[in-house]
Amino acid sequence: MTTAILPVYSKKDFQTDQEIRWCPGCGDYAILSAVQMVFAELGIKRENFVMISGIGCSSRFPYYMNAYGFHTIHGRAPAIATGVKIARPDLDVWVATGDGDSLSIGGNHTIHMLRRNVGIKVLMFNNKIYGLTKGQYSPTSEIGKKTKSTPFGTTDRPFNPISLAIGSEATFVARSVDVFQGHLKDTLKKAAAHKGSAYIEILQNCNIFNDGAWTDITEKEARSEHVVHLEHGKPLIFGKNRDKGIRLTGLDLDVVTLGNGITEADLLVHDEHHPRPAYAFLLAHMEHRPGFPTPIGVLRAWGDVPRYEDVINSQIQDVIAKKGKGDLAKLLRTGDTWEVRA
């Protein structure tokens, strides 16, 4: 018998024979392609991948991934995935979800999965709309947005998914974009390598119900002014001419133009391993502020937290080491017993 060698996979090995039923032009296709490519490169056996989803367009994802897949119920994917991961820590468990599934009906499971640091990678497709139910506003829709259920504009303040994840003390939080294939693949690989929960917001275009929601970020012309790429150890620079930067002033950030005495040395240098979640939170909040760019990349990668499933299972092993393996006959006779003789 030869030693177990990992099969060499290609993207094709992760494709299924199922007809894909997303609308033509949907951003989900690009995400699917990136995930299939990345899975093929991770050095993990195909049978050890489990893709779990809730409800919504994004949640059809498992049907198109040739791995173990479980399309569950609305919002509950993190809880089901938690059960799988506790039962089988050796499996590579991924969740495909959307802004409604993860932040509205499944908000509770999302925050609890993150605070526990269960080793699950969450791909949250954010298109700022309810697509599968045909166009109602979502918890990430911008205030005032006119949708089918808000003909006069939404009155809800939206969630920033990144802020929510950081607020839950998620140990890995990142943002990428459906059409930035290279960036998306890199981000997925970083998430895959992270020990613990990873929450990846993927800005995704719904070309039917919310087309162009992210054009500020995706349009070639506009994006250099509206996006700042976070790279660990590098200063936060953006702008068409790479002449703008982010500076830390006290407990706040400001946008500065390089020159006139301001140099790269004055800029904030990104530290994805910063121990304080407040740092990543400050970055996340930039997108709400006029004149500030939206950060993409890894906002936080804090590796020093034990995975939930490991803690649970090592507690079991510790008890067994201390007490020995349970003896059922003995257990049934626990406490006061007495014998009735014939």
Binding site: I86, I316, V319, V340
Partner: protein, 616 residues
Amino acid sequence: MATILELPNRKREVIDRAVIRFCGDSGDGMQITGSQFTNTAAMFGNDLSTFPDFPAEIRAPAGTLPGVSGFQVQFSSTDVFTPGDSVDALIAMNPAALKMNVADLKTNGILIVNAESFKETDLRKAQSTSNPLEDHSLDAYRLFAVDLERLTRAALASLGLDAKSMDRCKNFFALGMCYWLYNRPLDATNRWLQDKFKNKPTLIEANRLAMLAGYSYCEATEAFQISYDIPPAKLAPGMYRNISGNTALALGFVAASQQAGIPLFLGSYPITPASDILHELSMYKDFGVITFQAEDEIAAITSAIGAAYAGCIGLTTTSGPGMALKTEALGLAVMTEMPLVICDIQRGGPSTGLPTKTEQADLLQALYGRNSEAPIPVIAPSTPGDCFWVALEATRIAIKHMIPVIILSDGYLANGAEPWRIPEVADLPEIRVHFETNPEGFQPYKRNPETLGRPWAIPGTPGLEHRIGGIEKQEGTGNVNYEPLNHENMVRMRAAKVERVADDIPPAIPVGDPDGDLLIVAWGSTYGPITAALKTQRAAGHRIGHVHLRHLNPLPKNLGEVMGRFKKVLVPEMNMGQLSMVLRAKYLVDAEGYNKIQGRPFKQSEIEEKIQELVG
């Protein structure tokens, strides 16, 4: 038949059974006092049945009516099926407890009260306008008004405790009195104290002394002119322990995990009266039991579904309101045909209802409470000890048939206790697990022709990668399929799969008469009072049978035929008539309901009267 032994100073009477109830404030330790008395009676060899009855509030204002907590036990030298309709000895720690409980005390019954707690303020809190110790309202009873606090403090004087700590031991003074009254040894409780307060020697000593003082007080003061002996019962030979329904369920699932050879995963969210199963199972890590206290009821069941998907015994435990929250996930378990066990420890409802009181009103919810056609096997334990066997049975069915199974217990079974003959591990049922590993011709919805179950193909198995989910499946491939005829086929398939379980369960065999005037059909915790009533009514010459259904879905195949052998069918239930509705609909039988919805179990006498009304 009572025998009276004349002892030098006092009488000692041999009786065959007694019912004793401890009641007081929820902070008075009545549950501990009652369970200690129970344990001692059990160790002595009596058969027994208990009824703990406590408020939902942890500490309602002290001394008030809503704060009253009680614990009743019937112990006997013959078979016991209920905690008893009325009480022979009542221990009341304050006027509120007395007021709430005295009506259940038999005429000439023993009444021990804490005399010091009948001051004006105490009476006011109990909304009493006059002092029952003085107004002759208790003349029908043998009243013993004892200064429990003063006497306890005197007994503990040497320990240097503060007054409050000493007063906390007064329940053990009362317990000591009861031990004297029923001639019971103190050693089982002393052992319990040693264990309970391992690192608090003062508390061991304080409670030991208080109990001893109560015992000696009776001995020395000749307060009681009589004491009682209740000889051991003739139980089937074997090793026994005392067990409550929730403990029995927990042990049953540990046993199921051992028999199946796969880990048990419990996903649960705390809820009365089910939480004790979570507490209990969280202790058994040495058996590889995984307990996950989820963020809510939905995560509790869905994490269990995830664990079952990954190859564990998936278990979730809850009560009615939690059951309602789990509904959608139950549908997913039906659709994905996942082996899963759901325990609903029923309580009074709807909504929050009566959290600490018992009811059987979740039957229709368990049978039908899901969107669309989503049948699930339902089984119900009938006594606390039976919960152990039902846990094994539910797990066996879930795994063999690849199906979720609901267990319907209730608050009365959950907290009530009885002596339980401990089984030999070798006698436990086999639970065979087969994880599919063969990729040859594998299909996720290819069915076992006998059970119609699908393969259990867990993630991590090479070559079996497949997708499942809540969208309608195509038979065989499990692919998404919206075709009209496939849907009808799958709906019928899921129903047929549940019906197949009927091939795997015993037929209904009536206890008592095999045919005759009246058949009682019932389920769950009504077993005790019905069994007791059946005995007396058959002895009175009526031809009565009793079928106690363990399997509520599917029902035993011969149930219709059995009901046909009797002139009348009576269905006593702690609900508005849910089983009787099912029986009427399914068998066109004129089943008559007898319904009690008071948060309390049936009394034996209530069933007896109903039987007499129907056959008398």
